[in-house]
Symmetry: C2
Subunit: 243 residues, 2 copies
């Protein structure tokens, strides 16, 4: 399983993903699920994936390969004219990979399933955030739905729903995401540390911060322990039931 969140705030885009991959309980590995294409001053594109690892790796490899073959660069992630064209290209690649893997050639609803969060900014337009379905189509975040989750999304959703505000600072957003991830980590073994964090500040056209958060990360420990106590205190502060 996997847990990834992409979140839009006024100040930019924040991405967090876990790194655990499992094929059964007895086959657990660490794989990066966050991929970045950057051309400083021009564009930053971030892609996070959940689902069948063969599919997600194939999608990333295909996208990557195209950006490296100079002759082919007219249709690559480093050359697309807009985020909309970018998400269309990624969506088409997803559809192509899944169709190629699936025995019947046309089932998105299969073992080979994967979904993606794509976000970034290309000079000349605003930062945008998308979620891409296994069918290759996609939706964009709006003010009403300013974040996307993929993978094991449920445990960590309630806190985001309650605490998110678009005016949050980057520092607060990281705190929110860590609380959400910590709830998920505590509930589902198939989501695991370390976590990858990326912050893209609006109009920076370069990665503002990229960091891997491991078990011994001091801030993560503060949040994980602190949230347990804070939650218990919050719970204790409410009145008990009286008949």
């Amino acid at each position: 399983m996997t847990y990834c969140v992409g979140l839009k705030i006024d100040r930019g885009l924040v991405f967090m993903s876990d790194t655990r991959t499992n094929a059964g309980m007895d086959s657990i590995s660490t794989f990066k699920k966050m991929h970045v294409w950057e051309e400083p001053g021009e564009r930053v594109i971030v892609l996070m994936s959940a689902g069948n690892l063969a599919t997600t790796q194939a999608v990333v490899s295909l996208l990557d390969e195209r950006t490296k073959a100079i002759a082919d660069r007219h249709a690559t992630l480093l050359e697309t004219p807009s985020m909309y064209q970018t998400v269309r290209m990624v969506g088409d690649t997803v559809k192509e990979v899944i169709a190629h893997s699936s025995p019947t050639g046309d089932k998105a609803d299969s073992y080979f399933n994967a979904s993606f969060i794509l976000g970034g900014q290309i000079r000349g337009s605003e930062p945008r955030l998308f979620m891409i379905y296994p069918e290759g189509n996609f939706i964009e975040s709006t003010d009403d739905t300013p974040f996307f989750q993929i993978g094991e999304t449920k445990y960590g959703k309630p806190i985001i729903i309650r605490a998110y505000e678009r005016t949050m600072s980057f520092a607060e957003t990281v705190k929110l995401l860590l609380v959400s991830f910590d709830s998920t980590l505590k509930s589902n073994l198939s989501v695991g540390l370390p976590l990858d964090l990326l912050f893209y500040e609006k109009d920076a056209f370069k990665i503002s911060l990229k960091k891997r958060i491991a078990q011994d990360d001091q801030y993560y420990r503060t949040i994980s322990d602190g949230w347990s106590s804070a939650l218990k205190a919050a719970f204790a502060s409410l009145p008990d039931f009286r008949e």
Copy 2:
């Protein structure tokens, strides 16, 4: 969908279930998912159900019918010698109903699926709590896993994991369950009010409290509003991320 929790504390058993049933988004109804068989001074048995409504109703009807036909009462929920025999009987009924509904006659893994939480006490033994699978087999709660959830279980799990203690009072347990249900209600439309609450106090051999909690319930409103604020305050109390 459905959300039900059965929880064991030192003082007894606490059950909570929602009442929303849906067959598609445009067909939503209210159905009781908590069923009680009581013989004061002798036994209390509580059954909560999630899954296909036709299946769960058939199981409850079959169990009920048998307790009403006097001639047949040697093998009913009011006559079983122990909780273990009771859960076996219910498990067999589940298996029978699903096998009867399923076209191929043997698939638990089907449209007709349902799962159950069964708890109670019969004079001569301790209170016990079980979860019954669609296959008709079951597991019992232990000190390590003192609660069961069925239906839409994920949103409401993190708070139970963090705040549950077996020494909790009934009043605290109701608070915990309401917080867990409130998180679920806020995240999934297919879980809905009113909620059914039942408390069975150890060695009482009668229902200690049974109550329906509706939208306008004063205590529910206090918890729902209070939890939002308490959670935000807890969140604000943690330090923000610093690079």
